[in-house]
């Protein structure tokens, strides 16, 4: 059985090409492929600006971080954005150790990330 992770999608008022995606659970090597498919589908459907709410994302490993960087790069290539908010301190530490804080758009709160769209 893969690790449990759930994505919950919400529209962002006044932003037709944006989606709020709430990550719930653990992002690791067992589920990166399915998350990759789901988020890439959003890009393909024209949602080029994604705000990822990590409030309930408990865990990310290096493989999970790899796809977050991929989302960020893909969004930029499409003139969009992949913004992250509410990162817990343990997950933030992993991002920091890998040296990826400058490669990801990280915000304290979802509202701030949405306002920056």
């Amino acid at each position: 059985m893969d690790t449990q992770i759930e994505l919950v999608y919400e529209d962002i008022k006044g932003k037709n090409n944006a989606k709020l995606v709430r990550f719930i659970g653990d992002l690791d090597a067992t589920n990166v492929e399915s998350i990759l498919d789901k988020v890439c589908n959003l890009f393909n459907e024209g949602f080029l600006n994604i705000v990822a709410d990590f409030k309930k994302l408990r865990y990310v490993n290096s493989t999970g971080l790899g796809i977050l960087l991929h989302f960020s790069k893909t969004a930029r290539e499409k003139n969009g954005s992949f913004r992250i908010a509410n990162v817990n301190e343990n997950v933030y530490e992993i991002i920091e150790i890998i040296g990826a804080t400058s490669l990801l758009d990280i915000y304290d709160e979802v509202d701030e990330a949405v306002a920056a769209l």
């Binding site: 690790t3 067992t30 790899g66 992993i94 890998i98």
Partner: protein, 268 residues
């Protein structure tokens, strides 16, 4: 009302532990009996005093106060007084009275003795797991290790780091196994109050060993001058992350396979 009785004995397993066995109803009138028992126990000069209460039917607040006095005397001598074996009802009552903030409760004497060995003798505990080289087993293994660290008093942050180390090493062992190898991945975790040692052994793909050896080369470059990761790079950061999270990290290569060993000191 059952007559209160107290007996004092030395633990057969650890001589530094004295066991004070309580039986019956301990109302206010039994205070002198309790203080007498405590006095007798303290004469043994124990490092650890266990109040065994599995046959206690009731405890008054005055008796609880007397026990607190006994605990204070133990602490002043550099020891501890803990309570073991309480039934749920009395335990709840004592908790309502705030006793859980003063005493450590254990299910039985054996658990209390194990806690003593852990705390004062620096005893380590071992967890050994063998699992098929399939990714889906790794989350269970890493979460189990993290829970063990938490149970042993490691902070949430330390437990998370330990979880990450186990996850990355095990993922690496599964992904870089020799093609078609039926051999399980062997994980052993040794934990004591000060550190966790993690060892993962597997049969590696000889081609992928080269990459592993490359990662293991000492890197004298200052952290700020090291190349930043690129967004194109989806993989290959795992062991570098382990290296950063661990206090010590090494890999042994042999004909039989690869043995990755990480030590993480307790920080918080």
């Amino acid at each position: 009302m059952a007559q209160p009785r107290i007996s004092v004995s030395q633990s057969d397993i650890v001589p530094q532990i004295t066991i004070l066995k309580f039986e019956g109803d301990f109302d206010t009138a039994s205070i002198s009996r309790v203080s007498g028992g405590l006095r007798q126990a303290l004469e043994h000069n124990p490092a650890f005093l266990v109040a065994e209460m599995s046959e206690v039917l009731s405890i008054s607040s005055a008796v609880l106060g007397e026990l607190m006095g006994g605990r204070k005397a133990m602490v002043e001598r550099g020891g501890h007084l803990v309570i073991a074996g309480l039934c749920l009802e009395i335990k709840s009552k004592l908790t309502l009275m705030g006793a859980h903030k003063v005493f450590k409760f254990f299910n039985d004497v054996r658990s209390a003795i194990n806690a003593y060995k852990w705390e004062y003798e620096g005893r380590a505990e071992d967890l050994c797991l063998s699992f098929p080289p399939v990714l889906k087993f790794v989350p269970l293994v890493r979460q189990m290790t993290s829970r063990l660290a938490k149970q042993k008093g490691y902070s949430g942050r330390d437990s998370f780091r330990i979880e990450t180390i186990v996850d990355e090493i095990c993922n690496n062992a599964v992904e870089h196994r020799r093609t078609g190898s039926p051999d399980n991945v062997e994980l052993s975790v040794r934990i004591d109050r000060k550190k966790v040692e993690i060892r993962v052994v597997n049969e590696s793909d000889p081609e992928k060993l080269r990459m592993l050896k490359e990662i293991m080369k000492p890197d004298d470059t200052a952290p700020e001058k090291r190349p930043a990761p690129t967004a194109d790079q989806k993989r290959g950061r795992g062991l570098a992350l382990v290296k950063m999270l661990s206090t010590r990290f090494d890999v042994e290569f042999s004909e039989k396979g690869t043995s990755v060993h990480a030590t993480k000191l307790r920080e918080e």
